[in-house]
């Protein structure tokens, strides 16, 4: 099973849109995919029309609750969801009590190995004990980056931190790219910026991505031909190539 985390230090950068669309495209390509919504905001859970749960974070994080019965099928073949739980807002406090939270997370996901080819974490923004534990259990961290100096600075901080930790490989890509903005054009167009991002795909700032909340579905299901859908398909192709060159984590 390959394990990927969609993570960002900043919020509102298109993490959930990327996680849901990549999960959908991976499942459409035949992979058995589990998307774990770790964000108490429950946006992935909402997009996939599943009801978020409330409590139980402590028992889950201590490994005292079987996760399998909590999984829900999405509307799409081979794409399953582990819905968000509001009680995960206390996850840091719980994990901080544990000696090795990263190891605990690896232990939690081990039972999924036989049933899934890809586990995709949709992380809450920020560097928290929870996100660090998730990253420790992942092979790659997909990081959406809005082409602004602040976002690039945040990305640099993430890269430096993860390199120190010997964590997952960081795979940033530009997100919410608005070609009308000079700054976006200049940042995404300069060789200096491009050199920093290993993934070439750029997700545009598009109304279709926002409409995911209206349709509660991945972009491909209601606007398959739009630029955003093409960009997510291109991103998935790059991620798929990445997976084919890396050994499964579990």
């Amino acid at each position: 099973m390959h394990v990927l985390a969609v993570h960002s230090l900043k919020g509102g950068v298109g993490k959930t849109a990327a996680a849901v669309n990549l999960g959908y495209l991976a499942a459409a390509s035949g992979r058995r995919v589990l998307l774990w919504d770790l964000d108490p905001q429950a946006a992935s859970t909402f997009y996939l029309r599943v009801k978020p749960a409330a409590g139980g974070a402590r028992r889950i994080l201590r490994g005292k609750r079987d996760l399998e019965p909590l999984i829900r099928a999405s509307d799409y073949e081979r794409l399953h969801l582990l819905p968000a739980r509001f009680s995960f807002r206390h996850a840091d406090a719980e994990l901080a009590r544990q000696l090795d939270p990263g190891r605990q997370f690896r232990k939690l996901i081990r039972p999924f190995e036989k049933d899934y080819d890809l586990l995709l974490f949709d992380c809450a923004p920020g560097f928290t004990t929870l996100s660090e534990s998730v990253l420790a259990a992942s092979a790659h961290a997909l990081v959406p980056v809005i082409p602004t100096p602040l976002s690039l600075r945040a990305l640099q901080a993430v890269c430096e931190h993860l390199n120190d930790q010997k964590g997952p490989t960081v795979q940033p890509f530009f997100s919410m790219v608005d070609r009308r903005k000079l700054m976006h054009r200049s940042i995404t167009g300069t060789p200096e910026s491009l050199a920093r991002l290993p993934l070439d795909s750029m997700i545009p700032y598009a109304s279709q991505v926002e409409q995911m909340g209206r349709y509660r579905a991945p972009v491909h299901t209601f606007a398959g031909g739009c630029a955003a859908a093409r960009a997510f398909a291109s991103l998935w192709n790059e991620v798929e190539a990445l997976l084919s060159h890396s050994a499964p984590v579990t």
Binding site: G30, R72, D75, H80
Partner: protein
């Protein structure tokens, strides 16, 4: 994948139903997806190893994905995975398909039946418009090796993970709405039966319903019919040369026939006997070289593991040489199988069976049990006589001769097994099998050692830069020689396990053969 096992219903042939109307009539809201073209191949080995092991293996070609689905039939959940291409060998199967891999062994996988058609999916939705179950209708035509057939429309109800309650209620409602439909526990079996294909494939193992009172001539016809059916069934695979097991089974059928000819001569017409002997001797000869090379190919991996890395690398030259020789031998075999001589042999075989049934010899009219007792006793005597004189100084030829006699005894025991006590027969065959394995391993060392020497000469004559390969082959010959010596030492033990008191007692009761102790 923790998808729940779906429930499939088959409508009577020629009937069709609109899935949307069906779901609506059952009282559920739904969303219809776009119809999708479907190509579903139900895979199995030629001898039905997947089906016989209670499993199923299905390949789906979809517009954007190729999916392989497998699982146990007995109430278990199926597993699905994306694959790059349709699997042919057990090594092509994804991780997690270990049980299936064990069942398939060395056989090649082929699509037994393929459905070409259309799948319409109706997503059952709840109040929040969330899909809670899927109902799909599948219609199209079945394609198989012999041609095409009409298929019944299938209605599949697929409960979804976390929404099992919906799956149960829609399944009940749809089953009630389709009183004429039949529940299909195994889609492959149902579709194969519609296409008039036996899902169990062909059976190389003899399992004839022989009765003790059947005339020996008729029993001989049954045996030779079974051999003929195996030869006909394995012939396309033998010609294609993709799976060494086809040729192996083909040759076993030829060898069994030759062995029965020599041991059942009293029930066969003399002219027929001589003619069949001659033709089967020829057939055994023309199929031999390819089989020998197949054995060499199958042993290559074992050879590599035995040698140090550098020598193992040098074996690439040997592999090329064997593969080249295998292709050339296969061409010669194909030419032999294309001759009028072979065509005539296959064409005339059914008339030989009639000849056996109507044979006028007195022995042909005797009950088969009497004839079987006599021939098995005689063959047992032959084996015991030859086996008991073998010691450390006996030449290899004597062990080979004993091996051949053991094979003949085994073919007789397998053919007439149903006439005798099952438990005693099983013990006797088990001991004999162990002995054959031992003698086979001894003889294989001899054959492979000789073959490697020949390959080394041939390779050396062709190319000058093959010293490393020849040295590696030399080391292999050394190892084979020492293994052969070990097998010879083992013989004393395997022989005593066969030629023991319980087996002797059984042979005396069952066949009337009492061996004289030395």
């Amino acid at each position: 994948m923790p998808e729940f096992a779906h429930q499939t219903l088959a409508l009577p042939l020629g009937e069709a139903i609109d899935g949307g109307a069906l779901v609506q009539a059952a009282g559920f809201g739904y969303v219809a997806d776009m119809p999708e073209a479907l190509m579903t191949a139900y895979l199995d080995t030629f001898d039905g190893r997947v089906f016989r092991s209670g499993q199923v293996l299905i390949f789906h070609e979809k517009p954007r994905a190729r999916i392989l689905e497998w699982g146990l039939l007995a109430g278990s959940k199926g597993t699905r995975a994306a694959v790059a291409h349709i699997p042919r060998w057990s090594c092509d199967l994804p991780r997690g398909a270990g049980t299936l891999r064990d069942a398939i062994g060395v056989r090649v996988l082929t699509p037994v039946v393929t459905v070409h058609g259309q799948r319409r999916v109706f997503r059952i939705i709840d109040g929040l418009e969330k899909t809670v179950a899927r109902v799909s209708t599948i219609s199209g035509r079945i394609r198989h090796a012999e041609g095409e057939a009409e298929m019944p429309q299938l209605v599949r109800v697929e409960p979804l993970k976390g929404f099992e309650w919906a799956g149960v209620s829609i399944e009940e409602a749809i089953t009630a709405a389709l009183p004429n439909a039949q529940k299909v526990p195994n889609e492959f079996e149902a579709l194969a039966r519609v296409a008039k294909i036996d899902p169990r494939g062909y059976e190389a193992k003899l399992a004839l319903p022989l009765e003790p009172s059947v005339p020996a001539g008729a029993a001989a016809a049954m045996l030779f019919r079974a051999a003929y059916e195996t030869m006909v069934a394995t012939l396309p695979g033998t010609r294609a040369g993709i799976d060494s097991e086809f040729l192996h089974d083909f040759r076993v059928a030829v060898r069994r026939s030759r062995s029965w000819l020599s041991r059942l001569k009293q029930v066969l017409d003399v002219d027929l006997l001589e003619h069949m002997k001659q033709e089967l001797h020829w057939l055994g000869g023309v199929t031999g070289p390819v089989r020998d090379l197949d054995v060499s190919i199958l042993l290559l991996d074992a050879y590599r593991k035995e040698l140090p890395e550098r020598d193992a690398g040098a074996l690439a030259v040997l592999e090329d040489h064997i593969l080249f020789a295998r292709r050339r031998a296969q061409r010669r075999l194909d030419q032999a199988l294309d001759t009028e001589r072979f065509a005539k042999l296959i064409r005339r075989w059914p008339s030989w069976l009639t000849n056996m049934e109507r044979a006028s010899m007195p022995a042909a009219r005797e009950p088969v049990i009497d004839v079987a007792r006599g021939v098995i006793a005689k063959q047992s005597k032959r084996v015991c006589r030859q086996g008991r004189v073998i010691d450390a100084n006996t030449p290899a030829e004597a062990l080979h001769a004993l091996r051949i006699e053991c094979k003949k005894l085994r073919y007789l025991l397998e053919a007439f097994g149903p006439l005798f006590d099952e438990a005693g027969m099983a013990t006797l065959i088990r001991g004999l099998k162990r002995l054959q394995d031992n003698l086979g391993a001894f003889q294989d060392c001899e054959v492979q050692s000789t073959a490697l020497r020949e390959y080394a000469h041939e390779i050396g004559a062709k190319r000058a830069d093959t010293i490393d390969a020849q040295l590696a082959m030399g080391r292999l010959v050394e190892r084979l020689d020492s293994r052969q010596a070990a097998e010879r030492e083992q013989f004393v033990k395997t022989w005593s396990r066969f030629d023991n008191k319980p087996n002797q007692a059984f042979m005396k009761t069952a066949f009337g053969y009492a061996a004289k102790r030395r």
